[in-house]
Symmetry: D2
Subunit: 253 residues, 4 copies
C-alpha cells in the first residue's frame, strides 16, 4: 500500500483527430475526464474524535485498562507491568512487554510519560524504548534539560540516527510518537533487499523523515540485519525506570 | 536535513588487541561508547501545547487574525478573502491567495473546514486546494458521503494519487492536514533529477506515504515538471466554494 | 542482495581512554582495523573473457546453438524461431518465445540485430521487445535514422520512459543491452509495495538509470500492476520482423 | 537527467463518449496514440566501435598518449606518472593525479591493470583507487587469489560496502570499471539532503548496484559528509604500487 502508481482510466470509445503539435501548443484543451478514475474506490474510515484518538480501522493495543494484547517478554506470560491511572507503567526488573500479534508495515500512535520526579542524568533518566519488530528501537527518554549523546536522544533510532530536533516535553508530561514504519525485505539468502524505513513525529514535530534503519539496534557494536518474518511483535523496553505508556493504537498497512 | 547518515565518534587513543574471530563470536563485548556521538548536538525546540499548535521554531502563516503573510494570487495585492471567526474564508471569484515567502522542503500544518450547509456533489462540494510551491495540489474537498473520482478525493494529489483511505470529517467540522514535503531538484538542462515527494496525514491518519509527485497538477492532460526555484509560495485555491482555513504553520527543513 | 548495509567488526577487547573532543579534533588517529571486516567473505567468480562473455556464475540462456531453455509463448511447445549463424531469429507469425525458468532480480546480457535490409519506418522497422517477467517491455527497434515516438524508441521502457539518448547502431549490426532489473514487490492485497526498477546500457551507453517501471506494458491505455510471483519467464516478442538474438546470459541476484 | 517522469501527449481535440465501466471492462480498445509522445525528441549519439570505446558525446580523459586533462594532486603541476604502452602508470611517491575539470553525476569508463609480477599481500598488492569527486573511493586492488578484508576488496566502496562478487582478472591483465555516479546534494546548512549513489560493473559483472555512499572515504574512523560543490575532480590514487590506467572516458549526466 506504500506505493500506488499513477493510473488513469482511458476512454473506451474514442473518436477524435489527434494532433501532437496541437497537443503541445494547447495542453489545456481536451477532455479532463481522461485523467480521472473512479475505480478502485477509496476505502472510507472514521477518523478519531481528535487526531490522537484511534480511527475506526485501528487495532487498539492499549486503551487504558486492558493489557491483554501484550505478554511478558521474559516468559510469554501475562504482563507484569502496572496499570495505573489508565497507563501501563514499567515495573523495573520484570522485563519488557510485547504484543501477542506481529506487525510489519504500520502507522503506530503511542503516548508516553517519564517520571515527574527527576532522577539520574543522560541515559539514566526516564529511559525506555519502542522496539518495532522487536528489533529496531525508537528511543524513549526524559530528554528535557538532559544532555546525552545525539544518537541516544528521545526520538533517535537508538545508536543510529539522532532526531532532527529535540521536541521533548518535560518530565511528568504526556508525550506522543506518531510513527510510520516500513518493514525490511530480505532475499532468500538472508541478505537485505530493502532496509526498514521510519518516519516519526514527536509531539507533532517531525524528528525522523523516512530514515533508513541500518539494522537491529545494538548497544555494543554496529547495527546489522538478520532475516526475520514480515510480521513481528512490538516490544516496549524495561530499562529500570517507571516510564508510563497509554493510548496505543496501530494501523497495519 | 532529510537524510543524515550514520556516523560514530571513534576513540582517539586506542590500545587494544583486536581479534576478528573474537569480534564475530562475541559481538556484545567491547566498549558501547564507540557507537555514541555527542556532536553535533541536537537543536532544542519547544513543541506546541497540543500537537496541533505551532512549535517554537515554526513560522505561523495564519494565526486567526493576521493575513499579512499572504497576498492575492490575482494581482499581488492584499488578500481579498474574509477573516471570520478566526478563519480565512474563500471569497469566491476573488482568486487564490499565496504566501509572500517561498518555501521548499517543509513540515506544514493546516486546518480546513467545508461549509456546514451542503451544496452540490462530487467536485462541486466544498472544493479548494493547497498548492505546494504553487504547483503541486493536495486536494481539499467535502468528501463526506460524497463520491467522486478516486484521484480527486480529499487527501489526493489531485489527478495523480488517491489517498490511502478517505478519513474525512463531516461538513462544517474542522479537519487537519499534516504534511511533509520535499521539493523537486532539477538538472541544469531543466529535466528532473529527483521528483517532489509528499507525506500527508488527514485528521491524524496517513493518506499519502512518501508519495512521488509526477509533476505540476494539470486539470487537463498529464502532470509534467517545469524547472522552478527551490523556494516557491504556497497557494490556496479559490474554487468558488467558501472553504475556511485556520491555524497554518510551517517549519522549513 | 541489492542493498547491503554498512557494518563493521568492532574490536572485542578494547582498553582505551575515549575522548570525544579528541575524536573530533583528531579523527585520523586510532586503529584503522576498526572499520575493516573480513566476514562474510566475498564470493569469487570468473568474469567472461571479454565483458560480453558470460561470467562463471551466469546461466547461459542461448549460446548460439541450443534453444532448449526457451519455449513457444503460443503453445508452450518447442521454439518455432530459426537458429541461423548462431542467432535465434524471429519467425514472424509464430509468436514470442519465453524462458522455461522464471527470473526476478537479475543482471541480463542480450545481443540483438535488426535486418540489414531496411523495410518500413517508425515502429514498423526491425521491431521486437524484451519482456522482463513477461510483462515489462524494453523496446527493441531499428532506430537508426528512424524517427519514432520518444517513448517507443530502442532502449525505451515501451510507452513509459524514453532512453536518455539514442545509442543505436545501424541495421544489420549487432547491438547489446546490459540490464539490471529489480522485480516489483506486492502487498498481500495485490497493491504494489515497491515498483520494478531497471537500469539499461545500450551498446555500452547508459539509457535507463534506475528507472521506475509504472506497470506492465500496455499498447493501449496506461501501465498498471497486477500481482504476480517473484519469478516469471523472460519473453522475446514476435512483432513480425526477423530480428535476431544471440549471446543471452543472466545472473539472478 | 537521472529521473524522467512519465508523461503523455493527450489528444487535443477529443470527441468521444466516455464510460468508466466500459474502460474497466475493455482496456484494450481506444487509441494507442494517446500514450505515445514525440517531444522532446531523444538526442542521438554514436556508440563506440566496441562497448569499451568512447561514445561520440564522451569526454576522453586519457586516450593512451595525452595526460593534459590531469594534474598532480600534490602541487597542481603536470602529472608525474609515467606514460608507457598507452597506459598512465602510478609513479610511487609522486602523489595522486586528478582531472583539471570537475564532474558530478556521470557515466565513467576506466581500465586498470595491476603488476604482472606479484609482490605483497592483502592491501599491499597492486593497490590504487578511483576517488569520485576526490572523496569517494572505488577500490583498485590486485584481488586475484589475494584475500583481504571484504570492504577493502577490488570493487568495494572502500571501508564501506564490499562488492557483490569478486570478479577480478589476474595480475597483469587489463580490467574494466563501468561506473554510474550520482553526486550528493547538500542543504544550505551543510547537512546531506541526498547521499551519493554508485553503480559499478567490474569486468562486465555488477558489483555495486545503486549503492548509497555513506560519506567521504576514511582510512581511520567512519565515513562522513562535508559539503562540497556539485562538480569536483576525479582523483586516481598513488598507493605506491605501479598500477596502470588506460582508456578513460566520461559522460556527464
Amino acid at each position: 500500500m506504500f506505493i500506488r502508481l499513477f493510473k488513469m482510466a482511458l476512454g473506451a470509445t474514442l473518436c477524435f483527430s489527434f494532433s501532437t503539435s496541437l497537443a503541445q501548443k494547447a495542453p489545456h484543451t481536451g477532455d479532463p475526464k481522461l485523467t480521472e478514475y473512479w475505480d478502485p474506490a477509496v476505502r472510507i474510515i472514521t477518523p478519531g474524535k481528535t487526531n490522537a484518538d484511534a480511527p475506526s480501522d485501528a487495532i487498539v493495543l492499549f486503551d487504558g485498562k486492558d493489557a491483554s494484547k501484550w505478554e511478558s517478554e521474559k516468559d510469554g506470560g501475562p504482563v507484569k507491568w502496572k496499570i495505573e491511572d489508565g497507563a501501563l507503567v514499567v515495573a523495573g526488573g520484570t522485563g519488557g512487554i510485547k504484543t501477542k500479534q506481529g506487525f510489519g508495515d504500520c502507522q503506530l500512535h503511542i503516548e508516553w510519560r517519564t517520571p515527574a520526579v527527576v532522577k539520574g542524568e543522560s541515559q539514566g533518566r526516564g529511559n525506555s524504548g519502542i522496539f518495532l519488530m522487536s528489533r529496531y528501537e525508537l528511543q524513549v527518554l526524559d530528554n528535557y534539560n538532559n544532555r546525552t549523546y545525539s544518537n541516544g536522544q528521545a526520538g533517535s533510532i537508538y545508536k543510529q540516527t539522532p532526531p532532527l530536533v529535540n521536541a521533548s516535553r518535560g518530565p511528568g508530561e504526556w508525550q506522543t510518537y506518531d510513527i510510520l514504519f516500513s518493514a525490511p525485505v530480505f532475499q532468500e539468502d538472508g541478505t537485505v533487499r530493502t532496509p526498514a524505513k521510519i518516519t516519526v513525529f514527536h509531539n507533532g514535530v517531525i524528528v525522523q523523515h523516512n530514515t533508513t534503519i541500518w539494522g537491529s539496534t545494538q548497544y555494543i557494536g554496529t547495527p546489522n540485519y538478520e532475516k526475520h518474518s514480515s510480521k513481528e511483535p512490538i516490544m516496549l523496553q524495561d530499562h529500570g525506570n517507571p516510564v508510563a505508556y497509554r493510548n496505543i493504537w496501530i494501523r497495519p498497512m
